[in-house]
Amino acid sequence: MTTLASAEPYERAATGRKADGVRFVPGQPDMWVLVLFESLVFTTYFTVYVFRRTQSPDLFLQSQAHLNLRVGVFNTLVLLVSSWSVARCVQTAREGSFRTALNNAYLTMLFGFLFLVSKVLEWVTEIEQGFSFTTDEFFSFYYFLTAIHFLHLLIGFVFLGVAVYQIKSPARRSQELVETCATYWHTIDFLWVLIFALLYVMR
């Protein structure tokens, strides 16, 4: 990632290349390899969950009733806002408004942190009510899916940190790297959208 590439994004902003109809890969193409691969792995996990659910529908339903749908909705809304703020971060950085981009990046971190706190509180509540990882198959899947997502989210903070570091200094700014980090963050968001539907909503 050379800093000489930083001349480019200003041109992008100035010419409004989207209006030109010029197609570009958002961020490093390498990150998209990660996104697609991890998404495939998650699809496998989701499929296993759905299938296992059809084998014991009543057990899963009754256990699911102990989850709080409102908390799930709250989590989803929080991550959606964070995706919105990181998307704004990318666009403002592209146009050269780095102060705004930085604020948006911090905002994203804040919402991400809110999600983390909410998730931990939810786990604690469930455990206090007696529902742990080994309680039954539904809860095994619940903790597994939410925990592996949580882990991905923690890694997301590392990427956000890289984005912030890049934006802060004029010498380091790389639009491609900011877009790369944002791409990863959005992935965590859309994976959660699926987890929410599968754990909280589906019957």
Binding site: T2, D30, L34, V41, T44, Y45, V48, F133, F144, L151
Partner: protein
């Protein structure tokens, strides 16, 4: 590509495979790297053959088997276990060459040598749970089929928990390689391979519940803990073997960025050299 500097016969001779191999042995400056690469390829294939076909310890059996069933399991695989793991114990030392070759890739990178050294240490230790402990436990079980069933159960659990449940070692190793690739300025490996290491590491975290569950998808033979993990691991291994081969072809024994593979015509001057 390489031979011009040796001052020896510059052209690979046409003719039989044997002649070519002898030529490479004598003149190819990359022969050690190629020996390393071929060792990796042969070993992984052999490993698959030994574990999956001969010993038949993979795919793993259920953790929920009862003691009599476990005795039967050992009985069904008596000769496979003994002969299979005898072979493993002979060729097992090849892992030293394999790990050295992979550590070499990190030495070629622009990052600190500490990465290569930590990788070496981690993966040297990894042969214990990743191969040897299971081998020993299974052959001990197979050696005296009339052993107390409770002891056989113990050996069975010990073999499979140590093999499936200790993925953490490989997890850290993957992360070390990932960071090295992402920080590297010599373009030894593409950045997406760094990210693939992250995928591999995360999938290995997923195996940890195998210590807790005796049935279901998180048990050591489960759909998530074993099958998905194995699919990711096989993909990852195939990918890095391919990338390693490319890397060796590109190797120029310098310390700067690795040149890209040349196509049929030489590159325009000044294009590749800009960072």
């Amino acid at each position: 590509m390489s031979a011009a500097t040796t001052g020896a016969a510059p052209e690979v001779p046409s003719g039989s495979l044997l002649r070519k191999i002898v030529w490479h042995w004598r003149y190819d400056e990359k022969r050690e790297l190629w020996i390393g690469w071929w060792t990796l390829v042969v070993f992984y294939n052999l490993y698959g053959l030994l574990f999956f076909v001969i010993a038949r310890t993979q795919p793993p059996p259920k953790p929920s088997l009862t003691a009599p069933e476990i005795v039967q399991w050992f009985h069904d695989r008596h000769y496979g276990l003994l002969y299979g793991y005898a072979i493993v114990s002979i060729v097992g030392g090849a892992t030293a060459i394999m790990n050295a070759t992979l550590a070499y890739t990190m030495r070629r990178m622009s990052v600190s040598r500490a990465f290569a050294y930590s990788y070496l240490v981690i993966y040297a230790l990894a042969t214990l749970p990743g191969m040897l402990i299971m081998g020993v436990a299974c052959t001990v079980g197979a050696m005296r089929p009339d052993r107390n069933p409770a002891l056989m159960s113990w050996l069975y659990d010990f073999a499979f928990l140590s093999f499936e449940g200790t993925m953490g070692v490989f997890l850290i190793g993957s992360l070390v390689w990932m960071v090295a690739v992402l920080l590297d300025r010599n373009r030894v490996f593409p950045k997406w391979f760094g990210y693939l290491n992250l995928c591999n590491a995360l999938t290995e975290v997923v195996v940890a519940p195998a210590w807790i569950f005796k049935r279901g998808v998180f048990a050591w033979d489960g759909g998530i803990a074993w099958w998905t993990n194995m699919a990711v691991f096989v993909t990852y291994t195939t990918v890095f073997l391919t990338l390693l081969r490319k890397m060796i072809l590109r190797e120029d024994f310098g310390t700067g960025p690795l040149p890209e593979l040349q196509s049929d015509h030489p590159p325009e001057p000044g294009t590749r050299e800009a960072a």
